[in-house]
């Protein structure tokens, strides 16, 4: 990966690109310093991270939600995206619900802040019930129903496919048994739930390995950034020229 070759201009004679690389590299090292233990460098990086992300989130919400989705369509319809002929009066309802959250600042009326929360929880509960039934129950049932002795077009038994299907149904039923709370896990139920927990743990093991591999690739990405983007900039300023390091 080539080193930065931009003109050396900007703050203190450094290009903005190089300043960006240095800020990113120092913050990366500051966060990694937590591996040694809590220290002032980590605290600085943490506070910068939290402060910037909170402020950025607030600014984004103000511009994209409050201004663009509420204020403009309601008070400046000609500036709304897309432009409107008349104010969208119906937006007063979500606007008022949002304002009710601020009633928490007035102890006498702070109970009003429960209304928007109740509205959101009720709305999403209603929306999610059909979705959960569709994806977590019906779709899964459909995928699980398969013959344990399938045959191909020529009438030959597909033993391996049959074994896979058998494993699938045994795994599902035993895992359901593990999550059955109305009976103690003894006797038949105990046996089924033990098999179920084995299935769960094998699945979790596979997931663990998969995710760790993805995390390692993130670490490699950071180390590549430090080695190939940040270190060469040190070379530039020591007079070794672009690409050095």
């Amino acid at each position: 990966m080539p080193g930065p070759t931009g003109p050396i201009t900007g703050i203190l004679g450094l290009s903005t690109e190089i300043i960006g690389i240095w800020v990113a590299a120092l913050l990366t090292l500051a966060i990694y310093s937590f591996l040694y233990g809590d220290n002032p460098v980590y605290k600085v990086a943490e506070h910068i991270f939290v402060g910037i992300s909170a402020a950025y989130g607030a600014a984004l919400t103000y511009h994209l939600v409050i201004i663009r989705r509420l204020f403009d369509p309601l008070f400046r319809p000609d500036l709304a995206q897309p432009p409107l002929d008349a104010p969208k009066i119906s937006l007063i309802i979500p606007g008022l619900l949002g304002l009710l959250i601020f009633s928490r600042f007035i102890p006498r009326y702070d109970w009003l802040s429960r209304w928007p929360i109740a509205f959101i929880m009720g709305l999403y509960a209603g929306l999610s019930i059909p979705r959960v039934i569709q994806t977590n129950i019906l779709k899964q049932m459909q995928a699980t129903i398969a013959p344990v002795l399938p045959v191909d077009a020529g009438g030959q038994y597909l033993l391996f496919s049959g074994f896979e299907n058998l494993l699938l149904i045994v795994g599902v039923v035993c895992t359901l048994a593990y999550f059955y709370f109305s009976l103690p896990h003894r006797g038949v139920m105990g046996g089924l739930s033990r098999v179920g927990i084995w299935f769960l743990m094998i699945g979790f093991g596979a997931g663990f390995g998969n995710t760790v591999m993805a995390r390692i690739s993130l670490l490699i990405g950071r180390i590549q950034f430090l080695l190939y983007e940040w270190l060469p900039t040190i070379g530039i300023h020591l007079g070794a020229g672009p690409g050095a390091g």
């Binding site: 937590f34 233990g37 809590d38 990086a45 943490e46 991270f49 939290v50 992300s53 909170a54 989130g57 897309p82 002929d85 959250i101 928490r104 802040s113 928007p116 929360i117 959101i120 929880m121 709305l123 999403y124 509960a125 999610s128 019930i129 059909p130 959960v132 039934i133 569709q134 994806t135 129950i137 019906l138 779709k139 049932m141 459909q142 699980t144 129903i145 398969a146 013959p147 344990v148 002795l149 399938p150 045959v151 299907n165 149904i169 599902v172 039923v173 359901l176 999550f179 059955y180 709370f181 109305s182 009976l183 103690p184 896990h185 769960l200 979790f204 997931g207 663990f208 995710t211 995390r215």
Partner: protein, 423 residues
């Protein structure tokens, strides 16, 4: 005479030929000038029957057979324009391909009148079709010429009151509701058994440990919003922990990633302190918003764990990639850790780094287990009986599928069952 007659005839023929050429030429020129870039014709717009929410219209049109190549230009596709009745038409869809004469206009409002217009998009020969990545309705290919049809309308997308295809969802919801109502009926009359869940039995031990050590407890309710079922389950557990914390006067720190979750959790903890008879001990400043940035929040919670040194950490709710970072840091500080999530990708990390882990359904069962409230117990029982029905249905389905391999008569029944389950 003999020489003049042919000459006259020739003159006449020449005149006739010239007149014919003039007529044909002008007709061709007229055709070139008027129909150089043909626009789509015979627009047909109708409600999308497959869309029961009433947000889509289907548009079909026709093009002249000879319209594909015109004076160095090639017909490459179409743009669909739509607008509410009386408003300026704006592009809403592009169709790549001259032969494709059908488009679906999406994201409309049910029961609203719309005007529709189609433009044929011609590009210079050799130019490739290209649209803007950010605004896919904007054609970025150079030299594009559009031939607009006449606008047609008004047309309304129609929403259906009842979607027949989702009858299966209604049936499952009704059966489950009936089971829960019956369970509630019985739960209010007699005690119901719930098997011990180790992770939940450890909750009280963890609170006791924090109290004995004189150190606070940390409660993280996941990184999803207030609408998530896991967050709601986490908040119910928080209520129980806060009641115990209030009784023992053990501080509980609740950093939040969502402002609405923070508001709800303050209410829950406040209520718990009132119920415990210690409203004055409630400290709202211990339940606070940090940031909605995933790793900004994680770094802050890590900092809290190493500086405040809570004796017990509770990670309940929905988590993403930060699960392992949080659990590892908590493990490093020596706190007893109890996690609960329905995020199957993060469960392995909690299992490896925490003392106890509530997996999936156990998190939902926690509130009933801890509170023993008849309503929540009835819900849990209803879920259990639902699982029995589910397992029975699966066994019947697999048996039917296996028997259908040997008995073709059963094949239609199997297909009926699979079709019924189809979404």
């Amino acid at each position: 005479m003999t020489s003049r007659l042919p000459l006259k005839t020739i003159r006449c023929l020449l005149l006739a030929a010239a007149a014919w050429c003039l007529l044909v030429g002008s007709a061709q020129a007229q055709q070139m000038a008027g129909d150089e870039f043909s626009a789509p014709v015979q627009l047909r717009v109708q409600d999308d029957e497959e869309d029961k929410s009433g947000t889509r219209l289907v548009v079909e049109w026709e093009m002249r057979q000879d319209a594909e190549r015109v004076a160095g230009f090639v017909l490459q596709g179409y743009r669909v324009y739509a607008a509410e009745l009386g408003e300026e038409l704006v592009p809403v869809e592009v169709v790549d391909g001259a032969q494709r004469t059908k488009a679906v206009v999406r994201d409309l409002w049910p029961g609203t009148d719309y005007d529709i217009q189609i433009s044929a998009v011609y590009l210079p020969a050799g130019e490739k079709w290209a649209t803007d990545l950010k605004d896919p309705t904007r054609i970025t290919a150079g030299g594009a010429v559009e031939a607009l049809s006449a606008a047609v309308g008004p047309y309304q997308p129609v929403a259906a009151w009842y979607d027949v295809a989702e009858t299966n969802v209604l049936a499952v919801a009704l059966v489950y509701s009936m089971i829960v109502l019956l369970c509630f009926h019985f739960a209010s009359r007699r005690d119901m058994y719930i098997r011990p869940i180790p992770g939940l039995q450890a909750v009280n031990d963890a609170i006791g440990r924090a109290t004995e050590m004189g150190r606070p407890m940390l409660f993280v309710s996941g990184l999803s919003g207030i609408s998530d079922i896991a967050t709601i389950a986490a908040m119910l557990i928080l209520g129980h922990i806060a009641r115990r914390a209030a009784a023992y006067e053990t501080p509980i720190i609740v950093p939040c990633q969502d402002p609405l979750v923070m508001t709800a959790e303050r209410e829950i903890v406040h209520q718990a302190y009132i119920e415990a008879g210690k409203p004055d001990a409630y400290e709202p400043q211990n339940i606070y918003y940090i940031t909605d940035s995933q790793f900004g929040y994680t770094s802050a919670v890590d900092g809290i764990m190493v500086r405040e040194k809570p004796a017990a950490n509770f990670f309940m709710g929905y988590f993403y990639a930060e699960a392992l970072i949080l659990a590892e840091t908590g493990n490093m500080t020596g706190a007893i850790q109890i996690a609960g999530t329905d995020a199957d990708t993060q469960l392995p990390f909690f299992i490896t780094a925490c003392d106890y882990t509530l997996m999936g359904e156990e998190l939902y069962a926690a509130s009933a287990y801890l509170s023993r409230s008849p309503l929540l117990m009835a819900q849990l029982k209803g879920q259990d009986y639902g699982k029995v029905l589910l397992a029975a249905g699966l066994l019947v389905g697999v048996t039917l599928a296996t028997l259908a391999v040997f008995t073709p008569k059963l094949q239609p029944w199997l297909e009926k069952l699979l079709t019924w389950l189809q979404i």
